[in-house]
């Protein structure tokens, strides 16, 4: 189906999620790539940061049977007994994420996040939901992680999608060089572009990088590549949820982009916390979820700039 070399380009994928209804219009299949240049404190998909495969464990499913302890080639899994319950615990410093323990676990308490998939494999899976895309005006969304790390892959994947008449969207942090941006957006119908903070210093504090490249890329994608975009702002209490920051963001959108660019305010959720546990990450960032009232205030703030604003994707 997919021709030649292009089909064989691969990238690490950690999930392909069907019936995604918050990542662009209609019913979509979202392809989550693994690896990200940013280190946002609040990351909801912490398994997407590193490009390499990573072991995730689900303690609540572990029955303490010990099969993984025996199987582990490096002998880095031990049993921790608490009361009458034994749980297998992996020494993360020594674990090489080889995945030998995953197959041996009958209770699906272990999994390896991320495996390389070719464009052909991904597109085949995505096209299975074609009838739903057609009926709903949906399509494929490439998310992450960060697809800008895999420009050739993303370009080829979206190219194949377009060839099959499927609507394409890209969800990105926009932190990359122009080459990568050009490739990723060559076949994109829609960009879901994140702005995490308008103050570059704060941006760097919370994500590890300043925001200049990001804002420049957003302008480039919208004005030069002429791709319809939504601006998405994850609203993280204590980090970027001040009315001032939202006002600054809205001002940027109105002045530097256009008043017809919609803005989506995505309230922080704590669902990523479980994943940090599964990854064995310690001392992770935690904050409260924003209140409904606060979200409504922020929405009104952005609307004050004449922007079409919605809470949630």
């Amino acid at each position: 189906m997919v021709n030649g070399d292009v089909a064989r380009i691969s990238a690490p994928v950690f999930n392909i999620q069907s019936y995604s209804i918050h990542d662009g219009p209609g019913i979509r299949t979202t392809v989550f790539l693994k690896g990200c240049p940013l280190r946002c404190l609040w990351c909801a998909n912490p398994e997407s940061r590193k490009a390499a495969p990573e072991l995730m464990t689900y303690a609540s499913r572990c029955t303490g049977c010990g099969a993984c302890v025996e199987k582990c080639p490096r002998k880095v899994i031990g049993m921790v007994v608490e009361g009458d319950r034994a749980t297998a615990v992996t020494d993360r410093d020594l674990c090489i994420n080889c995945g030998e323990c995953v197959d041996t676990c009958r209770y699906k308490a272990r999994e390896i996040a991320g495996k390389p998939m070719t464009v052909e494999e991904v597109i085949k899976r995505v096209l299975r939901d074609r009838i739903f895309f057609e009926e709903s005006g949906g399509g494929i969304t490439v998310s992450g992680g960060e697809c800008l790390l895999y420009p050739e892959f993303t370009e080829a994947l979206l190219g194949e999608a377009k060839r099959n008449g499927v609507h394409t969207a890209v969800e990105t942090c926009c932190f990359a060089g122009r080459d990568a941006v050009d490739k990723v957006f060559r076949y994109a119908d829609l960009g879901l572009l994140d702005i995490k903070h308008m103050d570059s210093k704060m941006h760097e504090k919370y994500t590890g990088v300043p925001n200049k490249t990001i804002l420049d890329n957003i302008k480039y994608i919208y004005h030069d590549l002429r791709i319809p975009i939504y601006i998405r702002v994850p609203v993280i209490p204590g980090c970027n949820d001040s009315e001032e920051n939202i006002a600054d963001t809205a001002r940027f959108v109105v002045e530097e982009l256009g008043a017809d660019v919609p803005i989506h305010l995505l309230p922080y959720h704590r669902f990523g916390e479980s994943k940090n546990e599964s990854l064995g990450n310690k001392d992770v960032f935690k904050t409260e979820v924003p209140t409904k009232e606060h979200m409504q205030r922020l929405k009104e703030t952005a609307e004050g700039f004449g922007l079409k604003t919605q809470i949630g994707g």
């Binding site: 209804i21 709903s136 949906g138 479980s274 409904k292 994707g313």
Partner: protein
């Protein structure tokens, strides 16, 4: 696009604003607080009449029995009633069908007098009431169809019919009363447009003709005679309500209510005898004519709305256009009748309760759909019906959207919005085009095929054809697999199937397959044969003159009761548990014969010990982890297609000409609980006696983990619609997925995409917090529960307990 109706969008907007009026709210509250009452007066009159007509023809005896009941049962008009006529004088209650089903009541012969009358209600009977019931049993013992069919079955097949019931190979028991056509719908089109007097005139004319032409079949004459008796009895019964209303008006202090009671009296003096002249009379006529069905056979009391948005539309729209009623008036009347019919319980036997898990008569309505002429039938009344069921939030009626490519978006959207309000499967969607095509393929004229409606649940039926199912509505394929795995021995330890060999000796998957097919075909043939035998016995012991007259036009024309064998009929059966079998067979194929990680002996040891013992849990996990239907995995979906095709063909190829072939209709209901009691541990990882998979096209509980679209892709690949009229599919969606505008639109698109691609049926449960809480405690049952938030990927069960609590807490509003 061809339309049968010009839709007035302002009227739709007006309907959206209608609410349950104060009287309806008080009624709802009263229903909530009422206990269910068993009324014995009908039972007493049935026995009285039967004893006084000894020696007369059965057709006349049953007609006189109906008349005696209609003349004497206690009636009342309650303060909530604008449309009068209910089963018994209380807000909730029903009679028994002892005169038809025999000795079927649980606890009737216990000294305590405690009767289990519905699923939840137990009632203490007074000694007098108990004696009335017992007397009726004695009166009809050996003279009711259930006793007599069972006796003949035993003569021919020995213990097998009873043993197969005990082993849950087939359902239901005859005592469900669901034999021969007792669930026909009422022909409201004739009743509303011509009145019951039409039947009296027609029957009288035919009797005159009979005499003039020296008729040779006295049974015909007796049928017409019976038709006159029962229709007159129904009219007189309506006039009893009229008289009662007048009497109540005399002492009524409230002026408004007094006027209303006089209005009720006038209305009941006019309908159902005469054609209805407006919407109000139409509703009143339907209730009183519908009540006749309950008086005749209380177990099958449901009149069925059928295609109500078609035959009621002229009455509705004329009154609206002429400003005789407002949308709110119409809603109030409709809600009153939907509400009453939806709370009519039946007093069922224990097996029926076990299999159905409900005891209300499943009163169904179809909305939209294609008119006989081929136009889209969706109209403002379809919308009003949906609005009313959304407001009432009752578990009955079953509401079926007859989806077809002409179905307008506004109806689909209202349907999903209603689903959101009702939570569980109301309305559901059936594929009008596929069902019509199936009928046409099976030789039914196109125009007639388009008139199909859901009889009870999702079961498609033609309103003008009787349907026979004497004690054979469903066959349990998983029990057949159980027998294939045990050389024909059922779970009860009895040899109920052929000896197909010791599975431990099977060397190839094909040997297992062949054994299964042999068991399956044997069971199906026996089951269908029993139904055929029942058809030839039942009419000697039961006639339903009222139902025959007001449901099947052919009865009047041919002068034959609907219980009489007729080739103008339908046959159907649910061959259930296809997915349990497919997943199980695939697991054996893969684990034993392909990957060779287990031997048949090891597997059988594990199954026979219900996955206990040394390797039990290990083997169970291997079984559970084997690929499952519902995940868009071609190999296992092909197995589902193969099992489904084999099973459907074993049904449709049963030759009992000149009667039309059985159709395969894989309905849902809750039979998977009872059917599970007939099945030991299965190679799909299911434990012994646990419920089977729900519905009939649904994946194994919680095992469709690739998202909802993957499940639909599996269903479509299995291509059930090629051989079956309907294969029911249930899906769950967390409430947050339909909270937003876009969420609703996406579910509409999802539904349409599935049906367009050949899905036959789908219904949604909008998952509430209780379900989420259960998923937290039993993640193994809910692995498919999805969480969807922008840019985030996970399943509910993958999240930690604290986060799950977070989601449970936020369930009521949007997760975004």
């Amino acid at each position: 696009m061809r339309k049968a109706f010009e839709i007035n969008e302002d009227l739709l907007a007006e309907i959206d604003k209608t609410v349950l009026d104060d009287r309806r709210l008080r009624w709802k509250e009263a229903v909530r607080n009422a206990s269910f009452k068993l009324h014995t007066d009908r039972t007493k009159y049935a026995a009285e009449s039967w004893r006084s007509t000894v020696g007369e023809d059965i057709q006349i005896r049953r007609a006189k029995l109906f008349k005696h009941i209609a003349e004497n049962v206690d009636i009342d008009i309650l303060e909530y009633d604008y449309i009068v006529g209910r089963i018994g004088p209380t807000i909730l209650g029903n009679y028994t069908s002892i005169d038809i089903c025999g000795d079927y009541l649980d606890g009737l012969w216990d000294d305590t007098g405690e009767l289990q009358i519905t699923l939840h209600d137990q009632t203490a009977c007074s000694p007098e009431d108990l004696e009335i019931l017992r007397d009726c049993v004695r009166t009809f013992r050996g003279q009711n169809p259930v006793d007599c069919i069972k006796k003949t079955w035993r003569e021919i097949l020995g213990d097998w019919p009873d043993d197969s019931l005990e082993a849950h190979i087939k359902d239901p028991d005859l005592t469900s009363g669901n034999f021969g056509n007792s669930s026909n719908t009422i022909d409201f089109e004739i009743i509303l447009n011509k009145g019951l007097k039409y039947y009296i005139e027609e029957a009288t004319r035919r009797m005159e003709e009979f005499k003039a032409n020296f008729g040779q079949q006295p049974d015909q004459f007796l049928f017409w005679r019976s038709a006159v008796i029962v229709c007159q009895a129904c009219i007189d019964h309506a006039k009893r309500y009229a008289a009662l209303a007048r009497k109540k008006a005399e002492t009524e202090k409230d002026e408004k209510r007094r006027a209303e009671l006089l209005d009720i009296a006038e209305t009941c003096e006019y309908v159902p005898e005469n054609p209805a002249r407006n919407f109000r009379e139409a509703m009143q006529s339907m209730v009183l004519a519908g009540l006749g069905k309950a008086l005749e056979h209380p177990m099958f009391n449901q009149p069925h709305w059928g295609r109500g948005d078609q035959y009621l539309y002229p009455f509705f729209i004329n009154d609206i256009k002429n400003k005789k009623i407002t949308a709110q008036d119409a809603l109030s009347m409709l809600a009153e009748v939907i509400g009453r019919w939806g709370t009519q319980h039946m007093i069922a036997g224990s097996l029926h309760k076990q299999t159905h898990q409900i005891t209300f008569g499943i009163n169904s309505m179809n909305l939209g759909g294609i008119t006989p002429e081929g136009f889209d039938g969706s109209n403002e009344l379809s919308y009003l019906f949906l609005h009313a069921v959304g407001l009432l939030q009752q578990s009955s009626p079953t509401v079926i959207i007859n989806w077809n490519s002409q179905t307008p978006h506004w109806l689909m959207r209202k349907s999903i919005e209603t689903n959101k309000l009702t939570g569980g499967g109301i309305p559901l969607f059936e594929n009008d085009e596929m069902i019509v095509n199936s009928y046409v393929r099976d030789g039914v004229p196109l125009e007639e095929a388009r008139t199909w409606f859901g009889r009870g649940c999702v079961w498609p039926a033609l309103p003008q054809r009787s349907e026979y199912k004497g004690g054979a509505a469903a066959f349990n394929s998983a029990a057949a697999l159980h027998m294939a795995l045990h050389n024909g021995v059922a779970i009860t330890g009895k040899q109920l199937g052929p000896q197909t060999g010791d599975p431990r000796e099977f060397k190839t998957f094909e040997e297992l397959w062949d054994a299964y097919v042999e068991q399956h075909k044997f069971g199906i043939q026996r089951t269908l044969w029993l139904a055929d035998l029942a058809r030839e016995i039942q009419y000697k012991y039961i006639r339903l003159p009222y139902l025959s007259t007001v449901s099947i036009r052919d009865c009047m024309e041919s002068g034959r009761d609907t219980m009489m064998p007729s080739v103008k009929c339908e046959y159907g059966i649910t061959d259930r548990a296809i997915i349990d079998v497919a997943d199980s067979l695939y697991a054996v194929k893969k684990l034993v014969f392909e990957d060779k990680v287990l031997t048949m002996s090891e597997l059988m040891d594990a199954l026979d010990s219900n996955f206990e013992g040394e390797r039990g849990e290990e083997i169970r996990q291997m079984c559970l982890n084997a690929p499952k239907y519902g995940n868009d995995i071609d190999e296992v979906d092909e197995m589902a297609a193969k099992v489904g095709e084999m099973s459907a063909k074993s049904v449709t190829e049963w030759d009992h000409s000149p009667y039309p072939a059985f159709k395969s209709v894989r309905e849902g209901l809750s039979w998977h609980y009872a059917a599970g009691l007939g099945v030991g541990a299965l190679p799909n990882g299911r434990l012994a006696l646990e419920p089977l998979d729900d519905a009939s096209a649904s994946p194994m509980r919680g095992m469709d983990v690739n998202g909802p679209t993957a499940a639909l892709n599996s269903v479509l690949k299995a291509n059930f619609g090629k051989y079956t009229y309907v294969s029911a599919l249930n899906q769950k969606f967390p409430r947050n997925l339909v909270e937003t505008e876009a969420g609703i639109e996406n579910l509409v698109a999802y539904t349409v995409a599935f049906l367009k691609a050949g899905g036959t049926h789908i219904q949604y449960n909008i998952v509430d917090t209780e379900e989420l809480k259960d998923a937290k405690i039993h993640p193994e049952n809910h692995q498919n529960l999805i969480v969807r938030v922008g840019g985030f990927s996970a399943y509910f069960v993958q999240l930690s307990p604290q986060i799950q609590d977070d989601i449970i807490g936020r369930q009521e509003h949007c997760l975004n």
